[in-house]
């Protein structure tokens, strides 16, 4: 019997969907109980949101002023304080989980399994390496706590709404270090859907040529009700902020529809989209590797095709 603890990701107000994906992953382990740990400040509503996820047995809350921002050095000792009660500790493979979970694993003196994509058994998993060019099967020792991050694009979000798991305050005695201080978070406000969870995504690449030209990507995205993403090249060139990057070192996403515009399709980008339902590629280079993975390909000048597509879509509604 497995006892699984999932470390919730949230921004103080809203539970991140990545947490529900972790619950789905944990649910695939047979005969398991699933608790969610919410590290937060007093009075947050996040615990109630976590309690509403189907499959969650219990929500445990540690309230501490240190949890105003998710700083791994401060949060890891809190997770470790409860970890001993569990056979597994999971977190999402987002920048939050990637920062925190290895620190937890090291304090427990166990290896960490990154990016779990398939559950084979309670201690056996599949994960991608080499930007997804190989899939390995890994086995964790049966006598140790399994610490892992969950590749969220590989799992459907667990339902949220009907369940009401009990919420309990966990009293822990931990020393929270003061050597690390949160200063600021610079995030661009956007009314568009969130890139990580959107059902539709339109991404632009280097071929857009400038931040101004990227406007046609935003317009097409709006016509589709889609989130906006970008290749690394477009982010490096400064056309869009870093949080829009899709790929091995950016976000790994699984929308129902992914439209890649002016993106050549480096393997590092493709690994971020290989779980998408339908991939559409628009590129003027017919040899571009993106066409090898595209379900629908169009060889065209993006500066003509994209406005034309946007117009065609807008006139339909």
């Amino acid at each position: 019997m497995s006892k699984i603890l999932i470390v919730a990701e949230h921004d103080g107000r809203q539970l991140n969907t990545a947490t529900t994906k972790c619950v789905s992953c944990a649910s695939e382990i047979a005969d398991a109980t699933i608790d969610v740990l919410v590290l937060t400040t007093a009075g947050s509503e996040v615990a109630a949101q976590a309690a509403a996820i189907s499959g969650v047995g219990r929500v445990r809350v540690i309230e501490d002023p240190a949890n105003e921002h998710a700083v791994a050095a401060m949060q890891a000792p809190q997770v470790v304080a409860l970890a001993g009660e569990y056979s597994h500790v999971f977190g999402p493979s987002t920048t939050f989980g990637k920062d925190l979970m290895p620190r937890v694993a090291a304090l427990l003196d166990v290896d960490q399994i990154s990016d779990v994509m398939t559950v084979i058994g309670s201690h056996e998993f599949e994960r991608p390496i080499y930007a997804g060019n190989a899939i390995v099967t890994v086995t964790a020792p049966a006598d140790q706590i399994v610490v892992a991050t969950v590749r969220t694009a590989s799992f459907q979000a667990a339902e949220q709404g009907n369940a009401v798991a009990p919420v309990e305050n966990a009293e822990v005695e931990v020393e929270i270090p003061d050597h690390t201080r949160f200063v600021a978070l610079h995030a661009e406000a956007s009314d568009r859907p969130d890139l990580q969870t959107a059902a539709r995504v339109v991404s632009g690449g280097r071929a857009l040529g400038s931040a101004e030209n990227f406007e046609i990507i935003y317009k097409l995205a709006d016509a589709l009700g889609a989130a906006v993403g970008a290749s690394r090249a477009a982010v490096d060139a400064g056309y869009v902020p870093n949080e829009l990057q899709v790929g091995q070192t950016g976000k790994i996403i699984a929308p129902a529809l992914y439209v890649a515009v002016g993106i050549s399709g480096a393997i590092q980008h493709l690994t971020g989209i290989k779980d998408a339902g339908t991939i559409v590629a628009i590129n003027k280079d017919e040899e571009a590797p993106i066409f090898e993975v595209a379900d629908i390909g169009l060889v065209a000048d993006l500066f003509q095709a994209v406005p034309e597509l946007e117009k065609a879509l807008s006139s339909r509604t």
Partner: protein, 249 residues
């Protein structure tokens, strides 16, 4: 003056399309070009810039693994590192064991700043820096895209899912480098010659008092599932009909 330790992993070159071997026991490495893990190269570049700006006295590069990694250490020396340490072992290494190895060197060398790549492009684990910081009981600033040193603390801008986060951390600390931290310099021929004379120490993992005890085991390698072949459309109208046929509009 501060000493900076930089981890350099020998990994299959960024431009190689990696394939699983026929036995499913690993990936093809015969005749495959090996390089410094690109994120580690960025880590080294940042360390060199800190030294050049007068913030550090010495930059030490370290690699853990097979003896062949001395090629990558020589490249690191040619880029400008002062000396290199090769920790040799034939045992399989997890990020946790590498972190323990780095910690042993941190203590031996009285290191004040460790910079490593945020992940290696072979294992894609993204763990070593965080684990070192945990074992060392020091701050970590992962996914760094900007770094400013201010006496005994560092202001680090981090690329996170929500945007850019700024952390202020006390030294000693561990920083992991993201892609946009800098653009590594090219190595010039005279520097390669000079690098041959720089010290490269070899030490066995066991001599550092680190045991490569087994943990998570990799039991099988398989190629990824490929996506089925798609269709090409001639124009935007064709694209709209194809999307409609799939029920996406």
């Amino acid at each position: 003056m501060k000493k900076i330790l930089v981890g350099l992993k020998r990994a299959v070159d960024y431009n190689i399309r990696v394939r699983v071997n026929s036995g499913g026991t690993g990936v093809e490495t015969d005749g495959v070009k090996m390089s410094i893990n690109p994120f580690d190269e960025i880590a080294l570049e940042e360390a060199l810039r800190l030294k050049e700006a007068g913030h550090a006295g010495e930059v030490i590069v370290v690699s853990v693994g097979a003896p062949e990694a001395q090629q990558q250490l020589r490249t690191g020396l040619a880029m400008g590192a002062d000396r290199a340490i090769l920790v040799t072992t034939s045992d399989p290494l997890s990020p946790r064991i590498v972190a323990k190895t780095l910690l042993a060197l941190v203590n031996r060398e009285s290191i004040e700043l460790v910079i490593v790549g945020k992940q290696t492009i072979d294992g894609d684990n993204n763990q070593t820096g965080q684990m070192l910081a945990a074992l060392w009981d020091r701050p970590q600033a992962t996914f760094a895209s900007k770094l400013e040193i201010d006496g005994d603390s560092l202001q680090v801008t981090r690329e996170v899912d929500a945007g850019l986060e700024v952390l202020d951390v006390d030294l000693p600390a561990v920083v992991t480098a993201d892609l946009r931290l800098n653009e590594p310099r090219y190595v010039k021929l005279p520097d390669i010659m000079k690098a041959k004379k720089k010290p490269l120490e070899e030490i066995a993992l066991s001599d550092l008092g680190v045991a490569a005890e087994a943990g998570v085991k990799t039991t099988k390698y398989a190629p990824p599932q490929s996506r089925s072949k798609g269709v090409m459309v001639d124009d935007v109208d064709g694209l709209v009909s194809a999307l409609t046929d799939k029920g996406l509009l």
